[in-house]
Symmetry: D2
């Protein structure tokens, strides 16, 4: 077992409660990284209730960046966060590259890194070996363990996850996005070992129910993060019915954005319309919205406006 | 190319519009097929607006039945339907078994069969070879081609699907449940060949938008089929906003049931509560609901009741 | 844990030593099952040293048969074996169908059944649940557990396999065809639980080394089964170098047949040339040999003839 | 279509005939890259008949290296090759990283790069889009297209490969390691478009037959590259039977090394014994040989020695 130093480095992840936005990576019209939009987008997220950000995830188009670009994006987000926690996705089948990026971003002030197991781990034996190699290599770094089997192709049972938590004290938070997430959260919380944070993904499609199952907040992207933070606040204040009502108001749009990379294209377009980023472009290869898609977005946003007006 | 006889056998699938419910297979508490509940469930579906039923799909637990049981369930549904169309899922990696079940159910009065490509077809060449063998073997039988890659593991591009439609006149309907379904529907409809019906799956999660993209109705399971038929009726009557409003009222529950086999367990429980089937049990191996799950269902149903009351 | 009766039913599998041929299913030129060739092929196998046969495996084109055909083939092999053990492949994602076929073939005199886990078992929890359901359903039947992850897509660690052996006394034999098989055999043999037989697959590509690692014989198909039985005999007689020499003489042809379904087409062609079956046809969809392929087979067989002549 | 400049850069790949060794990456006992052993290993390969080397492939443990290490290994091999062609594996799901490494190694004198499609390309449409993005980004660089579906999970039909060759003039060589390779080679050679080189992989398990099907040589790793170059020389000199005899002499060892990463561990151990590298260690996570494995290697090498002695 790795020994964890007493330094305060684990505090940020241990204290994480509320909304952690899965941040987009903005590009300009030519596909170059747009660092100025990182600033405006970070400001947008925090203004709408984010307690922390996760950058360079799958929805952040991380696999399309060079290593230098990854580092530049992470650094800019860290600077823009002005002390609020930035978690950096570093998942990589190659342990050496994973460890290198981890060291670089921690050195620049990240609060921790997020790691999902790569595809191709065939048995629990291989899963445990992989993480033994990873944790040995990265050392004393706070980690979010991401359980996202539909993306990675590697499934972890609750028992396996509890074993990983027990073996590796660096794991402070689980990002749970297996389905059904709700039953898995209940079973994780019933585990008798060390308490870790649980944040949920799946674009927050089940957020209020997941709150009822014992999570610490959502870790998700959405064009309207104020809903995610609002649901969290209402639910933790005991206003459960209001939390559901707020959630349901946005659910048609949330569901619309919950369509993998195409949904990310929609989200970026709405973020652009809201002034959070300058260009909605996704780096190639990626989806491109058609006029029909744009008209559908218009329609859904106008329905949302009316529904919000009716709530007031 | 197979030549299609002029017999009226293709009429039922060609005329298919509106709600086609993906039907559950009821079991009793010991896990035996409950044919009496087939009768009550079929009545329930038709009373709530079904124009047709699809039986023995994945959500119908078909892979857990013996061949004799499959045939018994199909027959009972056909009898209960009293002339309304029953489509029978016959997907099978083995062409001989697929053809045998097809012949048996067509002989007993099915309106057609639904076929998804099996997993393990590695190239379009293999996809085309597989369907050439299938259509040669089954002959002159109306077919719903199911595009459900997340379940089968075999992806079909729009171009491939249009080729299959062109080569095999037996294909009368596409069940589209790739994601995003909406963009794929638009591209299928833009194809210049023979017109086929398009019904959509994915538990109808995008039904009103899919209606706007040109589908002929939903082919989905839901504990409240009256919503699916209602959205279809409203939309085709030009009452688009009302269609969306009706849909959105049920969306939290629809989304809750959209969690693969666990969602099917929820659906069967609600169908039981509504008196449509006698027991909610799923045949082993399958999920079993906990008291926490039941309480969540209570909560969601009471919220739905209130929302429906507010609409009146 | 299932309790195993004291009836002698387990004796055949427990006593299994030597060559167990993975038998082909013969078809006639039109693709119908050729039961007369089952008789001649069974005779051929036993004449060339088979101690037992495994029928209806992947190489036996089982997935292309109807259930009735499967049963007819199994019955015919059982009759032709005249008391020697026939193991029947019954693998099926559907437990009901698996159990039904198991009961039918055991009733007709099979020595046991062979079961591989289906694809789609995502965690060890799901693996154990699947087999719990299977063994509960089939009851007191001797089983060969097949470990063939490249075909099934489901990987089992040595630890998982030892757990299954411990939990389910019906498991009497392991068919080991993960790669490297040799290291896995060593680790299985190092397990401290109940002894089971280990036979190896992978078309016997590593047979003499696997003998050195502690197996009880090959379970494989080959157009020249006399090599497989010969290597087994020599090795168990302590004539290790001779066993290797015999093996190496056939290795180019063995390797040539070790090319999945295409290799099976080659094997059937050579079995036809040797008079063991009437037609080499594989049921559609399946590979068809070209004149170039036939010329290559001629070439390899003539090289084999010369090499065998040189050994005399 | 990309236009190809008239510069001589394509000459090295166009002229490639004979043995192209898939080179190992040597590490020291602590797992650090051992650049001195790159020198001795390159010398060993060329001394035993290599016409070119492919570095940073899967067998070269490329996924375990950082980007800087990858570049250092490639550079060292280029220097050690003293003008002979070095092909660098640059496969990466991320086009940006792929393009960056391509530019870096071409700048340092590589003869070309080898690219396999990543996993997760679901249709031919996606396959073509991926390579359109790749070739647009890397520009005028000679490319080996690697067809290795068992490793990548992405299958390419012959028709798809011919389309890629037609669209992208940068493709000069195919590395064919689908199975059966022999029939695919025949079908590729029957394609009527631009001629490309075909080298074969699969650890050269079918080398002499592949020669007969029209390849230009092997691209494979083996502890005894003199066999690979010898078979090529004999075959091209018309001495077909001798080519087969030489091949068959080494086949038991070749097959033994043909066991994925475990086979690579064996290969590195034998290369160490032959003085080609200083340490046989594979970077973690990777297989570690046991005393039993070492004894088996001793046994196989002594058998090889005897067989070679008998040939003289």
């Amino acid at each position: 077992m790795t020994s964890i130093s007493s330094k305060s480095g684990y505090g940020a992840l241990d204290a994480l409660r509320g909304l952690c936005v899965v941040a987009q990576t903005p590009f300009d019209a030519e596909g170059a990284v747009d660092l100025k939009s990182v600033d405006t987008l970070a400001e947008f997220y925090f203004k709408h209730g984010a307690a922390a950000l996760t950058v360079l995830g799958v929805a952040g188009e991380a696999p399309k960046l060079t290593q230098d670009e990854s580092l530049a994006v992470a650094e800019r987000y860290i600077r823009a966060a002005q002390g609020r926690p930035i978690i950096v996705g570093v998942s990589n089948a190659g342990v050496a590259q994973l460890a290198e990026l981890t060291a670089q971003v921690m050195d620049r002030g990240a609060a921790g890194v997020m790691i999902a197991p790569p595809g191709g781990l065939k048995t629990e034996e291989e899963l445990f070996s992989y993480f033994a190699a990873v944790f040995k290599r990265i050392g004393d770094v706070p980690v979010v363990l991401q359980d996202f089997p539909f993306s990675t192709g590697t499934w972890m049972s609750v028992a396996s996850m509890l074993t990983l938590i027990e073996r590796h004290p660096q794991i402070r938070v689980i990002k749970e996005e297996d389905l059904p997430s709700i039953t898995k959260i209940t079973r994780l919380r019933a585990g008798t070992g060390r308490r870790v944070g649980i944040l949920t993904g799946n674009n927050a499609m089940f957020l209020p129910l997941e709150m009822g199952r014992g999570i610490d907040g959502p870790m998700a992207g959405f064009s309207h993060p104020e809903m995610l933070s609002g649901v969290y606040e209402l639910y933790t204040a005991g206003r459960v019915q209001e939390a559901h009502e707020l959630f349901d108001t946005y659910l048609p749009l949330l569901s619309y954005e919950n369509q993998s990379q195409w949904g990310v294209a929609v989200r970026k377009e709405i973020l652009r319309r809201r002034g959070a980023i300058k260009s909605a472009v996704m780096r190639s290869p990626g989806p491109v919205l058609t006029p029909t898609d744009h008209a559908e977005i218009d329609f859904l946003l106008s329905r949302l406006d009316r529904a919000l007006a009716a709530r007031r």
